[in-house]
């Protein structure tokens, strides 16, 4: 394999989190085009090879990830059950993801229940974070999703979330 491509592969392999083209360029002091060519080349190669893992684009960067079809065996190896969120936590997460920045009162209103507990759990899991305060009396805290949210849910960015089903119109 060509040296630059192998070098890029080594970095992608060693990185703990998805790594962006800009970051690769910065570390390697290579032209952006060369970095991009190497990454896309690797991505294609792993795709065609159909091995145990592929190079995925996620959270604004690239990361090697195993294919979903091998999850059962990997979980068995790691000795843990599937990590999961409760349906309530997932609902709260969905509201935050689509409506961010959002205050807790609006999450409560949409879900029809107090979302405090689930919200706190999501903040602790680093899926949701405080992004600021709303400039209204009381200055309530605004919440948004984190980069980790994108990483965990395999999203490149928030725009990749599927469109929410329309509900604004009451037309038949």
């Amino acid at each position: 394999m060509e040296h630059d491509k192998a070098l890029v592969e080594a970095l992608l392999f060693a990185a703990e989190t998805p790594i962006s083209l800009d970051r690769l360029r910065e570390i390697l002091d290579m032209p952006k085009e060369a970095v991009q060519a190497a990454v896309l080349d690797l991505q294609r190669e792993y795709q065609e090879r159909r091995g145990g893992f592929t190079l995925e684009e996620v959270a604004g960067g690239f990361q090697f990830r195993t294919l979903p079809e091998y999850s059962a065996s990997i979980r068995k190896m790691k000795g843990r059950g599937p990590s999961s969120l409760t349906p309530a936590a997932l609902e709260t997460l969905a509201v935050v993801a689509y409506r961010q920045p959002i205050v807790k009162a609006d999450i409560d209103r949409v879900r029809g229940v107090d979302a405090g507990g689930t919200l706190k759990g999501l903040v602790e899991k680093k899926l949701v974070r405080i992004v600021g305060r709303k400039d209204v009396p009381g200055k309530p805290i605004l919440y948004g999703t984190t980069r980790r949210f994108l990483e965990i849910f395999d999203l490149q960015d928030l725009a990749e979330l599927p469109t929410l089903r329309e509900f604004g119109e009451l037309a038949e």
């Binding site: 392999f13 060693a14 703990e16 995925e56 990361q63 090697f64 990830r65 195993t66 294919l67 979903p68 999850s71 990997i74 979980r75 599937p82 990590s83 999961s84 969120l85 349906p87 309530a88 997932l90 609902e91 997460l93 969905a94 509201v95 993801a97 689509y98 949409v110 879900r111 029809g112 229940v113 107090d114 903040v123 602790e124 680093k126 974070r129 405080i130 305060r133 200055k139 990483e151 965990i152 849910f153 395999d154 999203l155 979330l161 599927p162 929410l164 089903r165 329309e166 509900f167 604004g168 009451l170 038949e172």
Partner: protein
């Protein structure tokens, strides 16, 4: 009670209502409010009979349903099941909108659940042999977040007075932001005029915070203010020379 319902499957009153609508194969835009209200109340009774803790929100929605039902019985409103009135507003409108909105997010939550989650469906590289540190790079701080910080603070002051606990509010923190800015400017320029400090902010709150910051700094005796005459500009100086960082 014949409903085959497991209560822990409901995420709240809206969820229960959606379930009843689906179960009865009802058009969500044209909910037969009497029927649904009855079934909703029966379900609540049944939940109570099982000694399940009913969150207050379930009762709030129950009263909303009863209110809508009574409004639909008023002669001026469209009869139940007839959909929207030509002129008046359908009493069910707000509830339907809320249900549709909730339903959309419920589906979005299912979409999220169906994605290939990291560490559930897909996995990143498991381990990497430790490398010796490069030494030249700036040290990074491992993942600590606001939650850890707040928890730490709570831990520390848990033994202190509750009164002290309540003192922390965003207003004080805003003043502290301004204090830091003023100190920054004094460090750079050596002195700064009162006017200059107040000019930066357009909104009133910022001006108030700046003023409070100046008072606080004077109270702490960290700054000194001088005026060159009755109506002359007020100039602010650091009260004491500070030591360089890290000293």
């Amino acid at each position: 009670m014949s409903y085959e319902v497991r209560l822990d499957i409901f995420q709240g009153p809206l969820d229960l209502l959606l379930y009843l609508i689906k179960k009865n194969e009802i058009d969500i835009y044209n909910i037969p409010i009497a029927l649904i209200t009855q079934q909703y109340l029966e379900t609540l009774e049944w939940m109570k009979s099982l000694n399940l803790d009913l969150a207050g929100e379930y009762l709030v929605l129950a009263s909303t349903l009863l209110l809508i039902k009574s409004r639909m019985l008023l002669p001026d409103d469209s009869p139940e099941g007839a959909g929207e009135d030509e002129t008046g507003e359908d009493p069910r409108q707000d509830l339907v909108r809320q249900l549709l909105e909730y339903q959309a997010f419920k589906e979005a939550a299912l979409d999220l659940d169906g994605r290939p989650w990291l560490e559930r469906d897909v996995f990143k590289r498991g381990s990497y042999p430790d490398l010796p540190p490069a030494g030249t790079e700036e040290e990074t701080i491992a993942e600590v977040g606001i939650v850890e910080l707040v928890d730490a603070f709570r831990r520390v002051i848990s033994s202190l007075e509750k009164e002290e606990l309540m003192q922390i509010n965003s207003e004080k923190l805003s003043v502290t932001d301004r204090i830091n800015e003023i100190l920054e400017r004094l460090r750079e320029a050596g002195q700064v005029s009162f006017q200059e400090l107040l000019e930066g902010g357009r909104d009133r709150r910022r001006i108030v915070y700046t003023f409070l910051a100046i008072l606080e700094l004077m109270k702490l005796r960290m700054i000194k203010a001088y005026q060159t005459g009755p109506f002359g500009p007020i100039r602010i100086f650091p009260a004491v020379e500070e030591e360089p960082d890290g000293a």
